[in-house]
Amino acid sequence: MTGTHLGMPAFPAVAPAFPAAAREAVRDEVLRANLRHATHTIRDKRRRAVAELADWDRLRAAGKAVKDHTLRHLDRYLLQLDAAVTAAGGTVHWAADADEANRIVTDLVRATGEREVVKVKSMATQEIGLNEALEEAGIAAYETDLAELIVQLGHDRPSHILVPAIHRNRAEIRDIFRAEMGGWGRPAPEPLGDDPRELAEAARLHLREKFLRAKVAVSGANFMVAETGTMVVFESEGNGRMCLTLPETLISVVGIEKVVPTFRDLEIFLQTLPRSSTAERMNPYTTMWTGTTDGDGPSAFHLVLLDNGRTDTLADPTGRQALRCIRCSACLNVCPVYERAGGHAYGSVYPGPIGAILSPQLRGTGSAIDASLPYASTLCGACYEVCPVAIDIPEVLVHLRERVAQGGPVTRGGVRVTLRPADGRTAERAAMRAARLLLDRPGALRAAERLLARARRLAPRTLPGAGRGWTDSRELPTVAAESFRDWWARERSDPR
């Protein structure tokens, strides 16, 4: 292996809080333009694709109901799945956290004697930092999804669940291909323009070499069917089909919330997932496999069931709805905050509104970024409106804000603990309390309003402290000479 850095840089252990990270993105004009163009295009297409189905609301309700039912009986369905996969010739491994999952996969690859794997785009393996773990063990992991390839070649981080290179435009992609492909395998053809077809062809030629050579593939899965042990991968490019059929060994790392009870349940998600994610009636490739079949596809199949904070999330009655997520990314595409801040600001492989409720639950609210994510939203509700499994993201955001601001009960590592309020909120807490005390005493409120009205000509152009967040970009509202309450008392309370 060459000295080329093959791993996708993991998200920094100490990510800055969301507002600071977003500030950089907001000022990056190219990034803003790329994101605006891409999100608005997908957003409009999704709206049209969804509008075609007269029973969309019922499909949405059905998807929610299936997921809720499964989560309520998750223990039973996971055991059923384990038995079905095993009976079909697969091997099931259970991983409590990222380290355990990485160790299992690394050992499985080592046991084959191979030094490289091809990968199908997978959020779960990104969540656990599998590429970095494999790299440390001297195993090269090649991403084969076009956008993931762009991200990997660019030593970059994904910024979107479905379109990880959404922050890149064509010219940037061409430059990355020309500079980096040669160090990884087949170089980009010369000359290379920035026409999408040319770029896709360059990627196709580069990847083909890897598909034909690889003996081991690593994937995730969109769904796992408990009754049959069937794994399901939805994709658009055909790279998944290559990885899932050509190699001798297939290892799938899947979050435990991805299970559905019956094959028939897929009927719902086959309709809602493609329309919500790529705005297609049907995705180009849906690959399903059940264990192993002699002479057809991989001869060894390993399923690594990943917990990594999911059981803890399941313990929370309000927060658990985040586990219904099918990773369609419709919420990212409609989110006005994501559109301006970009995916990297969320400091996680799960950006956007769903990331803002998943990361602080899977990882806890202990870090600066995780404590700031629940606040990275105006609560405008656009995400809830488009979610195909009806996750009330604003409700969970406010719930997690409570966890940060007030503390309260939470489950970590299977143990129920009571969190204290996050650090650095003394002033905010005092202000909220003072405001409440004032607002709960109309007499005092009236006096304060009068004081404010009398001092209104002295209103400063800039406010101190947290108030600076207002006056840095906006003028203050003018305080009225007379409050409504005083007007009413003067005009209406007198006997007429």
Partner: protein, 251 residues
Amino acid sequence: MRAALFVTCVNDALYPRTGIAVVRLLERLGVDVDFPAAQSCCGQPQYNTGYRYETEPLLRRTARAFDGYPYVVTPSGSCAAMIREHYPRIGRKAAEEGRGGELAAAAASLAPRVYELTEFLVDVLGVTDVGAYFPHTVTYHPSCHGLRALGLGDRPRRLLAAVKGLDLVELPGAEECCGFGGTFAVKNLDVSTAMGADKIAAAAGTGARVLCGADNSCLAHLDGLLRRADSPMRTLHLAEILAATEEEPLP
């Protein structure tokens, strides 16, 4: 018909003219308006920032202030959504935490009686032409909580379209959030400002001189940006346009 005005704390202190407009408008339509002085803030800033316990006394106060009124009308989609959507949640959580059913009962009693102004006009009074006169070009920004939490739909636009002399122009990307978001506006200043800047640019592109809304907190954010940019566009609450007549034009 008797109705209580829930003016909201923002309007009370900063935009009394919106409250006065609601009073004039409703009285013109034959409603007997009362202003229970015990009211203050619905607690939305506290609740949405994560301080649910600080919200509870305000829930209790608001419910008590409007006890007995068949209709509670408020010129804010956001505050109406707070009462209708979040008060029952706060009540349920208090009960789950073993603190009794008092808050849940207060929420359940108040929530169905609360109407955002345009709901009250269109659904309860059954009017869209309120006899208003406003000879200006206006564009309308539907604030998110009115649009998505309450589902106000085209009620505000129907009311505006019926105003004599008013030329209503569509705001491109109207359903997109303006970036206010309560404490979001100060906690995430940069994103909030970027969203607001896009919103006022879209409004300016319509050629309208008036950017109308039904939530003064969103309008305070947009107005602050417009004035910082020395824009000739002004923001105006829907109630003030609907209150204006040929005899009594907007002051």
